[in-house]
């Protein structure tokens, strides 16, 4: 089912935590709300769930205005970061609770609980209590409880953040597969860009209660709207160097980079992904830099270098070796560089 947020705002007292957020989530889409803590992403999710009131704007689910509807009347299921399993109920009772409330008969509940439990592979744990389960198992129970009544929309609030790194990677893949199989519209909140990039059909990046960009992961990585998005997405984050843009030529210290555009901006920022740069001898590089450190990661070497006052990271071949403070040059293809206005953060698109 579709979820539509129309200029939704939220204020706590005089503090506005969400500014006119507008989103349209398609039927069956996996949308990730990505942002740092305090970006308003959880508040947005809780408003869709009905756990927070809406200060301004409208929310509708499958065409129905639910702005003032109670949580139970919205047909949404939520997986909490803390899992929120009922500690006094067994796994089977936990999963069956939403059905029990709907006064389904006992035999029907049992068969549905078994079916869902098998789907998330916890069918041997049905008689246990939450306290007897591991973190990963609790996570599955929470998921099963959300799945059992086939809601119109799944809401997930950082569901993987309490798991250890290995399990998280595993559950991520399972979650993605499951969402594909069930085809239920899912809105997923996370601060982890890897989760966002791997899971989402589209990512909505929030910062300071404002939507920065809403796009597919590939687009958001390759075509960021502004400096914030560029620096938030990617590991390591996009390299930036400060300088000025003079009729299409970026001036950084003594170096001049021809960008192919014609703009003039006094405070400009040049951005480059680590994998789009090559380390070359100083005289061959478009920008000269001083090597700060190099770290062998495994399949590549991560070279950190100083450009003026900015630090940049470059992915070099794993055979790369150089001494500290050695002068190096950085080469890149002109079409791989991004330009931003330092003052507004806006992308400067070359005309």
């Amino acid at each position: 089912m579709t979820v539509v947020l129309d200029a939704v705002s939220k204020s706590f007292g005089s503090v506005k935590v969400l500014h006119e957020l507008s989103l349209e989530v398609q039927d069956g889409e996996f949308l990730v709300l990505l942002g740092a803590s305090g970006s308003g992403k959880s508040t947005a999710l809780r408003m869709i769930a009905g756990l927070e009131t809406v200060s301004e704007g409208r929310i509708s689910i499958s065409g129905q205005d639910v702005t003032d509807a109670l949580p139970k009347n919205r047909d949404v299921a939520m997986v909490f970061q803390s899992y929120a399993l009922y500690p006094h109920k067994t796994v089977a009772e936990n999963i069956g609770y939403p059905l029990k409330i709907r006064r389904m008969n006992r035999a029907e509940i049992e068969s549905q609980v078994r079916e869902v439990a098998a789907q998330v592979r916890i069918d041997e744990l049905l008689e246990r209590y939450p306290r007897e389960l591991s973190g990963g198992q609790r996570q599955r129970v929470a998921l099963a409880r959300a799945m059992v009544r086939r809601p119109s929309v799944f809401l997930m609030d950082e569901p993987l953040s309490n798991l250890d790194a290995k399990l998280r990677g595993h559950m991520r893949a399972e979650l993605k597969h499951m969402q594909h199989e069930l085809g239920i519209t899912t809105i997923y909140v996370t601060h982890d860009q890897v989760e966002a990039m791997t899971l989402a059909h589209r990512v909505a990046l929030l910062e300071g209660g404002r939507l920065q960009q809403l796009a597919a992961p590939k687009t958001i990585y390759e075509d960021p709207e502004n400096l914030f998005v560029a620096q938030f997405i990617g590991s390591p984050p996009m390299n930036v160097a400060h300088g000025r843009l003079d009729a299409g030529t970026f001036v950084i210290g003594k170096d001049r980079v021809v960008t192919g555009g014609t703009e003039t901006v006094a405070n400009a920022v040049i951005g480059l992904r680590a994998e789009d740069c090559q380390v070359v001898p100083p005289e061959d590089g478009a920008i000269r830099a001083q090597l700060f450190a190099n770290e062998l990661i495994g399949d590549h070497t991560l070279v950190t270098a100083k450009v003026g006052d900015d630090m940049v990271s470059i992915k070099a071949p794993k055979e790369f070796e150089a001494g500290f403070d050695e002068a190096i040059g950085i080469a890149f293809a002109t079409d791989k560089l991004y330009l931003f206005d330092k003052d507004t953060g806006a992308r400067i698109r070359r005309t």
Binding site: A49, G50, L51, L70, P71, K72, V76, A77, M78, F80, S82, Y83, A84, L85, Y86, P87, H88, Y97, P98, I101, R102, Y129, P130, R131, E132, L133, S134, G135, G136, R138, Q139, R145, R149, N162, L163
Partner: protein, 348 residues
């Protein structure tokens, strides 16, 4: 390395074990304390079997050795005064159980509301309510207006005043203020309000009835229930309740299915405490009952008011039958008073 005798005696072999010497001392203290606590009960028990001479001729400790036990006191209360004893007993049971049930049910719902909803009554409105009610009481007491009429008029006047003037008041009270106001009602010593309460029930002709005592006990125990349960309710993770709401539960469903089972140890402890308080209450019962609604504590006290002096043996019999229900309730409830109920609710 050789350990000296003292080390062997008092140095614990591991962090979980006690050294033999320490163990002996600990158990000696515990044994002494157990005896110390149980002795009065033993004393009451044997006193109930003593004759007047055995009591008055100095302390005797062991039945059949020191003195010849007799059933005369038991006979007196359960054969000759059977109906009086039974009536007091039944009164006590009815009053204590009803008052406990009422205060636990009302109190836990009130404290859940305080724990989960934010109230911001305007100070001025609260003040107006107090003023109007004082006015209503004055009208009843001073000018002999019918109390029903006066109360109804008071509520009506308050309603229209609040509607008309309410929004002009700026200062607001919060949940903390309400909670403190509740507990302040208990801090107030009952002796201060006993005469007004007496006069109030006299006014409505409810003296010496169960309902008067039940109402009074419920009111004086409500603050305790609210105060104790507030802690239990706030310790329940809000995620659980939000999750239940999303699962489709109503507000009351959340309270019934999730909150109550999770706070049952708190409820058990609170119920037991309130039950004991109501069961033992003396002062208010003394004022509010004369004969028909008399409770057990009054009966106990009556034993030292007779022309025959203090009837220690009879008093002991009454005390023994009086502690039985509380002991039974404590045994039933203590298995619910357990820790770790919330384990596994949240986090990994």
């Amino acid at each position: 390395m050789n350990r000296s005798a003292m080390q062997w005696l008092f140095e614990p072999p591991s962090i979980r074990d006690m050294a033999p010497g320490t163990k002996v001392i600990v158990y000696a203290i515990l044994t002494f304390w157990t005896a110390f606590v149980l002795f009065p009960i033993y004393w009451v028990l044997i006193t109930s079997f003593k004759s007047a001479i055995d009591v008055n001729s100095g302390p005797v400790y062991l039945p059949f050795v020191d003195f010849q036990p007799s059933l005369h006191a038991w006979k007196e209360l359960f054969v000759f005064d059977f109906w009086d004893t039974l009536s007091a007993y039944v009164n006590s049971l009815i009053i204590a159980l009803s008052a406990t049930a009422a205060s636990v049910i009302i109190g836990s719902m009130a404290s859940y509301a305080l724990a989960r909803f934010e109230y911001q009554p305007r100070f001025g409105v609260v003040f107006m309510f107090v003023l109007v009610m004082v006015g209503a009481f004055v009208a009843v007491g001073r000018y002999g207006v019918d109390w029903r009429l006066s109360c109804a008029a008071g509520v009506a006047v308050f309603y229209f005043l609040a509607r008309a003037l309410g929004r002009h008041f700026k200062a607001r009270l919060g949940n903390g203020d309400i909670l403190f106001w509740m507990i302040s009602q208990r801090i107030l010593a009952p002796i201060v309000v006993v005469v007004p309460i007496y006069m109030m029930f006299q006014q409505v002709s409810l003296l010496d009835t169960h309902i008067a005592i039940i109402l009074t006990y419920t009111v004086i125990n409500l603050p305790i229930v609210i105060w104790l349960m507030y802690d239990f309710f706030t310790s329940i993770p809000i995620d659980l309740e939000e999750c239940a709401q999303l699962d489709g539960a109503t507000r009351f469903g959340v309270f019934w299915d999730i909150v109550l089972p999770l706070s049952r140890s708190g409820l058990a402890a609170t119920t037991l405490l309130v039950m004991i308080l109501s069961w033992n209450e003396y002062l208010l019962a003394l004022f509010l009952s004369t004969s028909r609604a008399q409770t057990m504590p009054i009966l106990v006290a009556a034993m030292n008011a007779g022309e025959r002096g203090i009837l220690w043996w009879s008093m002991s019999v009454v005390i023994i039958v009086m502690i039985i229900p509380v002991v039974i309730l404590a045994i039933i409830l203590q298995r619910y008073i357990s820790k770790g109920l919330l384990l596994g609710a949240v986090k990994g």
